[in-house]
Amino acid sequence: MTTHKGMGALVRLEVRRALRNKKFLFFSVIYPGLLFLIVAGGADTTTEVGDSGLGLPAFMMVSMASFGALTAVLVGNSERIAKERESGWVRQLRLTSLPGRGYVLAKTASAAVVSLPSIVVVFVTGAVVKDVRLDAWQWLALMAAIWAGSLCFAALGVAIGYCVTGDAVRPVTMIVYFGLSLLGGLWMPTTTFPSWLRSLADWLPTHAYAALGRAIELGDAPHVRDIVLLVAYFLLFAGGAAWLYRKDTLKT
């Protein structure tokens, strides 16, 4: 049980550290809310987005909440892990009783803790400023779905952190981050894409991620296809992260 105690301690310290980092907090917590205000702009609830059946504010609210959670878990994780590998902190942690997977789990868990406020900020902005109205269960389900879905990208962040080193981390993370956000339709509906790009976007984890939230907003259950796709991506990223982690810490 000591391992759990230790892991909890690491998560607590990681969270405290993240909350102290003003730049990180701005980009992961405040920024998605601001972006939501800008994108939703003067649109009112009656402007429908394509054939989605959702008003623009409601549509963009899910997009930006997903985007915010993605920022918090992906950008923060990959850069920190790469940095801590270089500084040798990961090696030092290997000399404690913390089990090998503990570091990766702690990183993922602490990122998830920080991503929650970013989701809440976008929701509050949507409800208060943009007049988005949903049933109580929908708010809760949305929060749960977006939060749980962000784990997929937390794992991706860990994998990038172990895969890329030094100066390359930031550009690689940014390309993956913006690419996934844009192509997955987090910034604009993919209905505006040419059809070939649209069929590609359909297979991206970010697309499935945003689709979870939109189904809930329409009062439906999320599509099985989206859930399966996200779980598959999660397993892929987490498996890749675990493999890279082992490779990195045990130099043979």
Binding site: R17, G88, R91, Q92, L95, K251
Partner: protein, 312 residues
Amino acid sequence: MSFQQVTKAYGEVLAVDGLTLDLHPGETVALLGPNGAGKSSTLDLLLGLRRPDSGTVRVFGTTPRDAIAAGRVGAMLQSGGLMGEVTVRELVRLACELHPRPYRVSDVLAAADITRIADRKVDKLSGGQEQRVRFALATAGASDLIVLDEPTTGMDVTARQAFWATMRDQADRGRAVLFATHYLEEADAVADRVLVLHRGRLLADGTAAEIKARAGARKVAFDLLDADAGSASRHSPEQRLRELPFLTELTVSRGGAGAGPGHTVRLQSTDADATVHALYGLGLHPRNLEVAGLGLEQAFVAITAAEEARTA
């Protein structure tokens, strides 16, 4: 812990070459060697950070990883970084919380002498202070073995002395301490046992005194005036000095001794008393005779040079 015929190569380079050694509880052991001797590789193998190509490493009867997980080993690496953006106290608290048999945070801070800087951010420390924090992380709980890789790098002399005082406290609590160093005086002053590593192989294993003895333990220096050198002899002073017993090294240089023309003689002997006695027996009259212990550094140089010559 024990190494049995452990070998580790990086590409063509053999970092650890058939190393076999045992460590006993409560010992303070120095792992001594020049850069590239395989010290860090040996510690990495001991700590399970690397896997040997062949041979086995056992720590407290189990694998390194299991021994660490059980909290029996605390370690401070040269390459071990610290978590940024947190205070010293927070980091030490984490180390205590991660240890299965932790000490109190305040005690660990006090033992490593970092109570004064406990509320400082880790990123704002000097090199020596960072080393102390690393030491605190390695001693956060009741481990039976503490492994330190070049622990005093970046410390000034005062800090170094204070550090070793702290470490001796740890050893006095009955822990085994294994440290790698290239500061020979540290090995000499602190260690019960010194392991000399060179090119991945164990060259010498014993107390600092034994290692010095092995290399020719004492040096003798004196002046020899031509007037005293016994002009009756057909041989030069150098030829006659070569006959001395227990001699391991001899240099004779022409030089003034202040009281007339003569030679300055420096020699090393494994039994200085017998050598000096024989010196008078040769009918020589040394002046300004000095007998001094050989530093571990010179012993070390002598041992590694002998090894180089043997393998060349």
